[in-house]
């Protein structure tokens, strides 16, 4: 009799212990997996930042120093000093003590290229929003003839790899007389980014109920006012996604920039940084310092919009 009454209790206790263990095990697994993933993602960036504060001599030491033993800001100083002078084969050794005196001959192009990159990226972001937002609203909410076809056409352009477009783009830009002009980059980057922006915004606007659109219009909004007063405030997470995407795509773009820009007047950051690797001498510490400068604007952008990025990730997960 006692055995019969005791056994369910023992069973329950066993069950509880087992489920507690299982939960703890799962937690441990997730923690380890997250740490591994975090290391995988962060290690290159940590090394980039760390090595930019090291001398050339320290960078190549074995084992590598994750934390600089003799931190130096000379790499950065050299970047800003390079602005005022040109480097030749003869003068290349006198610049950056940290790199043993070597800096790339194109070092003075770095800061102007950063400015070019920034102008291009900002222009692409602004024009993306100006074109993408109204286009997406129209495609999502106005039932015009050929609506589906135009959405598919826009999507189809994203299937074509950029490399296939290089030659047609080149001829197009040359005929416009825009070679070696940052406008050539703005125009071609728009062609590449706008379809994606429209696609992101269309899918968001489509998820906003039609009745909200109708309510706004009955309440006294014209189409444009409906867009600005109801849709844009609601679409903030998607807008942030579009801004980040357009900015990063332009900031990082290499192939088209390589084709259309020949001189520092229009060269962008990726082109100039890449040129450092094919110079008289290769200075790792200098290149890494340039790399740190190159990631600063995207990082700032991400920090500014961080709040919306998170809400963008969870948008639609919970019914409002």
């Amino acid at each position: 009799m006692t055995a019969i009454t005791a056994s369910p209790l023992v069973e329950v206790r066993h069950y509880r212990t087992r489920s507690r263990l299982r939960r703890a095990g799962r937690g441990l697994f997730l923690a380890v997996a997250s740490l591994l993933f975090l290391g995988y993602v962060l290690a290159p960036i940590v090394w980039l930042v760390s090595s930019s504060f090291q001398s050339e001599h320290e960078i190549i030491s074995k084992p590598p120093h994750w934390i600089p033993q003799a931190p130096t800001a000379q790499n950065f100083a050299a970047i800003f000093a390079a602005r005022d002078s040109s480097v030749t084969y003869e003068t290349r050794k006198a610049r950056d003590p940290a790199s043993g005196g070597f800096i790339p001959s194109t070092a003075s192009n770095l800061l102007p290229a950063m400015l070019n990159s920034f102008i291009v990226a900002c222009a692409v972001v602004v024009l993306n929003l100006l074109v993408g937002v109204p286009a997406a609203y129209a495609m999502a909410k106005i039932h015009f003839r050929g609506r589906q076809a135009s959405i598919y056409a826009i999507l189809a352009t994203r299937v074509i790899p950029d490399i296939a477009l290089v030659v047609p783009f080149f001829l197009f830009i040359r005929n416009l007389g825009l070679l070696d002009n940052i406008w050539s980059l703005i125009i071609t980057y728009l062609a590449v980014t706008v379809p994606f922006s429209v696609f992101v915004l269309v899918s968001y606007f489509e998820s906003v109920p039609d009745e909200l659109d109708k309510a706004a219009r009955v309440d006294g909004c014209s189409r444009l006012q409906t867009l600005t007063r109801v849709y844009l405030p609601l679409a903030r997470p998607s807008l942030v996604a579009v801004i980040l995407f357009a900015f990063l795509a332009s900031w990082n773009e290499f192939l088209l920039a390589l084709m259309f820009t020949q001189t520092p007047a229009s060269q962008t950051l990726p082109i100039v940084v890449a040129s450092f690797t094919s110079d008289f001498t290769i200075s790792f510490s200098f290149i890494n310092a340039a790399g740190v400068l190159a990631i600063i604007p995207p990082v700032i952008l991400a920090l500014v919009f961080e709040r919306y990025i998170v809400s963008g990730l969870t948008a639609g997960a919970v019914k409002g």
């Binding site: 039932h143 003839r145 109920p209 009745e211 909200l212 109708k214 309510a215 706004a216 219009r217 009955v218 309440d219 006294g220 909004c221 014209s222 006012q225 109801v230 405030p233 609601l234 409002g320």
Partner: protein, 369 residues
């Protein structure tokens, strides 16, 4: 404060789907009109055309003495309540209600006055600072009503506003909407597929099917004198019973026959079927139009076997098998019928309906009246 008139209005969507076909309808000033029909009957499209949210494909739509076919919604003096409430999720309750007034550049003091007044009437004054996501369904419904009310529009449109509420709330909101109509003294157009809502609220009901008006009339008209079998079966719950049969004049006065069932038609119906001997007709019997067999006249008795007994508190429904047909009737809750037994019930002569089987049209009205 507006009369709405549809002059042969047609709405055709891409792909040649006709949503509304040759609609002729006049909605009088300050009238409460309910558009009633199953989903896809064109009632919401009709409402959207009044609001200006859908284009009119052909025909003319008039507000008073102005043709409004091309007038965009924000230039028409209409307010609308939606089934999903369609509150702006990023605005507080206050701003939701005030938005329509802000868009019309009403002075801030006036807006505040009207918003608080409407909120007090709807008993949502304490919710003004909340977001729609923090409200219950019933509260959202009230905000949506408030948003339309403060506008003091010429036309008040409602698209199934109560469908998302639970049953008890729906009934109390019906009363409030009726009260609102009296208080606002403006034209109401209300879309629903719920016949009980239509019967409770409407001055006139417009029954629609497949984009075509089936009948227009006050609630009594459409319930008591349905023009066709669709209208008859769409109104009333449980639905009207239909028995197909033929007219037989063997004994002098016309008799409706179906198998062993013979119902002597009262004089009013008899006159209507004078020329229809031998034709297939449909007898319509509403569940409540029966009485104990002893109270009915001769030849007005329905016999059948009890198939099911469904008490609903206030009274009982019984399912009968009559000549191979299921017939639902409502009886007193004191009546004790057992399943499987045979019973007889009397018919209320003046409340029977007769329809032409081929066309589905009623035989109770028309040229010979």
């Amino acid at each position: 404060m507006a009369r709405i008139e549809f002059k042969s209005v047609t709405k055709r969507y891409a792909g040649d789907v006709i949503a509304v076909d040759d609609l002729k309808l006049e909605i009088r000033d300050k009238e409460f009109v309910v558009l009633l029909g199953p989903s896809g009957c064109g009632k919401s499209t009709t409402l959207n055309m009044i609001a200006g949210l859908e284009d009119v494909t052909a025909g003319e739509l008039w507000f008073d003495d102005q043709i409004v076919n091309a007038l965009p919604p924000h230039k028409r003096d209409v307010a609308m309540v939606f089934q999903s409430y369609a509150l702006y999720p990023h605005k507080s309750v206050y701003e939701n209600i005030a938005f329509g007034l802000r868009m019309r550049k009403v002075a801030a003091a006036e807006i505040d006055l009207r918003v608080r007044d409407a909120a007090a009437k709807l008993e949502i004054g304490h919710l003004l600072n909340r977001r729609p996501s923090q409200l219950s369904g019933g509260q959202r419904q009230r905000v949506a009503l408030g948003r339309a009310m403060v506008r003091q529009p010429a036309v008040f449109l409602m698209d199934e506003p109560l469908s998302n509420l639970d049953a008890a709330l729906r009934i109390s909101m019906r009363a409030e909407i009726k009260h609102l109509h009296t208080a606002m003294q403006t034209t109401f157009v209300y879309v629903t597929h719920d016949q009980a809502e239509a019967l409770t609220l409407a001055d006139r009901i417009v029954v629609m099917k497949d984009g075509v008006i089936q009948q227009i009339g006050n609630p009594d008209d459409v319930y008591e004198r349905p023009r066709n079998m669709f209208v008859a079966s769409f109104l009333g719950n449980p639905a009207i019973n239909y028995l197909e049969g033929t007219i037989d004049r063997a004994g002098g006065s016309p008799v409706f026959r179906r198998g062993d069932l013979a119902i002597t038609l009262p004089p009013k119906l008899a006159a209507r079927v004078a020329a229809r001997e031998g034709q297939e007709l449909v007898l319509g019997l509403r569940p409540e139009d029966v009485c104990p067999a002893g109270e009915a006249g001769p030849g007005m008795v329905l016999s059948g076997s009890v198939d099911s007994v469904l008490p609903v508190g206030s009274d009982r429904f019984i399912g009968l098998k009559v000549e191979g047909r299921d017939v639902f009737v409502r009886v007193d809750k004191e009546a004790r019928h057992r399943e499987g037994t045979s019973i007889q019930l009397g018919l209320v002569a003046e409340r029977l309906h007769l329809f032409d089987k081929a066309t589905g049209m009623t035989l109770l009205e028309g040229t010979s009246s």
